[in-house]
Subunit: 234 residues, 2 copies
C-alpha cells in the first residue's frame, strides 16, 4: 500500500524552467554588444556551478551569478542601468504568474481524496512558498518541504517522520537524478514524469537511469492509475 | 510540563547581526566618494524594506538590495569592480565562521539531555542549514525549521506536529516580536534573551512588550533553571 505520496513542484506541478530560459535570453541580449550568445551561456553556466556552494539554488543566486558574469565578461565596463536591469530580472521572476501543468489541479484533487500528499522541492524557501501560495494548491497538501538537496538522507528523514516504511512511500517528479534515484535506493517507489526541458545539471544518462526500477508517466493525469497498480503490486 | 523546547538561531545560538553591521560599514565605505554615511544607510534601509516582498530575508536578498541602492545612489555611475565587490560581500558573509554565543554549547547539551529540542529560525534555507552544519550543534536538535515568517500560524503548525499542546511548548530567542509575542498569543511559553544589537525592523516598544507575560534571561546559561521553574509552575 502507498501511504504517502510526495510530489516535486518545479516542472512537475507548475512550469518553472521556461522562466530561467527566458531570463537567459534576456541576459544574452543584454550582453550582445560584447560577446556571442554561446560564450555568454558558457560563462554564465560555469559561474552558476562555481557559486552553488556559496548561494545554493533559486532566483536570487541565479541573478547574483548573472551580475558576476556580466562584470567579468565586460571587464568591468557594464553600466549601472544594465546592472539594474539584471536586478529587475530577479523581481520579474519572483512575480511571474504560477502556471500549472495540464491536468495538475484535477489530479492533485483526486489523489488528495485518497492519500496523504506532501510537496518535496529543492530551491529557495521564499521562492517556493510564494509559488505554492499563488498556485492555489496549498489545501491539498499536508506538508510542504523545501530542502537544499534531494538525496537518500533527505527522503529517509521524511519517511521517518511520516509513513515510517519506505515501501509505502511514493515520489513523483520530473528529475531522475533528484526525484527517482535516491528514492529507489532507499527502497521507495518513484514515478518519473519527463518535462520537455531540464536544467543540464539535473540530467543523467540513459544507461545510469536503466539501473533503477521505476515507473514513467507521460503526464500527471496517468498517476492515479499507476498508484492503483502500485498498491495492488505491493 | 515543558515537552518541546524551540530555539531561535541568529543571535540566540550564534552571532549574526554583527556580520550585517560590518557589511553595512563596508558598503558605506564603498559609496563614501558619492554620499554621506547617513544617507547611504537611509537609502539601503528603505530598499531592503521595499524588496522584502520580492526577495525575503537573508544574505542574498541583502546583497541584491545593496547593488540596487548603489546603482541608484551613484545615478548609474557605479563601476563594475565596485559591483563585483558587493557580490563579494555575499560570499564573505556566506563563508564567515559561525561563532557561538557564550555558554551555548554547554547549555544546549544540558537541555538536550532532558528535553526534545528544535530550532525555529527565519531566513534563507541555504544560509541557515549551512550555519547549523558549521555550528557543530546539529546532533542536539531533532528538528530544524527554517520559516519565512514567525507568526501564530507558524508556531501552531509546529505544536500540532510535535507536542500537541501549546502550554507544553517553550520558545527561546532574542526577538520579542518574532520569538515571544506570537508564542504567548498562541498560549505557549517564551524566554527572551536580549542581544546587544537588533535589526531595527524587529524591535517593539516597551509598552507593547509589557502587554505579554514571558520570562527574560540575561544569558542562555540561565535557561535550564528557568525551564525547571516553568515545569513546576505548569
Amino acid at each position: 500500500m502507498i501511504k504517502l505520496i510526495a510530489l516535486d513542484a518545479d516542472d512537475t506541478l507548475w512550469h518553472n524552467e521556461h522562466m530561467f530560459l527566458e531570463t537567459r535570453d534576456r541576459f544574452r541580449e543584454l550582453l550582445s554588444e560584447y560577446h556571442s550568445d554561446d560564450w555568454v551561456d558558457e560563462r554564465l553556466n560555469s559561474t552558476e556551478l562555481r557559486n552553488l556552494k556559496h548561494f545554493g539554488y533559486g532566483i536570487k543566486s541565479f541573478v547574483l551569478s548573472m551580475i558576476e558574469t556580466a562584470v567579468e565578461l565586460t571587464e568591468g565596463r557594464i553600466r549601472g542601468n544594465q546592472v539594474m536591469e539584471i536586478v529587475g530580472f530577479a523581481k520579474d521572476m519572483s512575480n511571474s504568474p504560477v502556471r500549472l501543468l495540464d491536468h495538475v489541479e484535477d489530479t492533485v484533487r483526486q489523489l488528495a481524496s485518497r492519500h496523504q500528499l506532501v510537496v518535496i522541492t529543492k530551491g529557495d524557501l521564499f521562492d517556493q512558498e510564494s509559488k505554492l501560495a499563488r498556485s492555489g494548491l496549498g489545501d491539498y497538501f499536508s506538508g510542504f518541504e523545501v530542502v537544499t538537496e534531494k538525496n537518500c538522507a533527505t527522503y529517509e528523514s521524511v519517511v521517518e517522520r511520516t509513513c515510517g516504511d519506505p515501501s509505502t512511500f511514493l515520489m513523483i517528479g520530473n528529475s531522475i537524478k533528484s526525484d527517482v534515484i535516491p528514492v529507489v535506493e532507499m527502497g521507495g517507489n518513484a514515478i518519473h514524469i519527463p518535462y520537455h526541458t531540464m536544467w543540464e545539471h539535473e540530467t543523467v544518462s540513459e544507461d545510469e537511469a536503466n539501473k533503477y526500477s521505476f515507473l514513467t508517466a507521460a503526464s500527471i493525469a496517468e498517476v492515479p492509475t499507476l498508484v492503483a497498480e502500485l498498491s495492488l503490486r505491493n
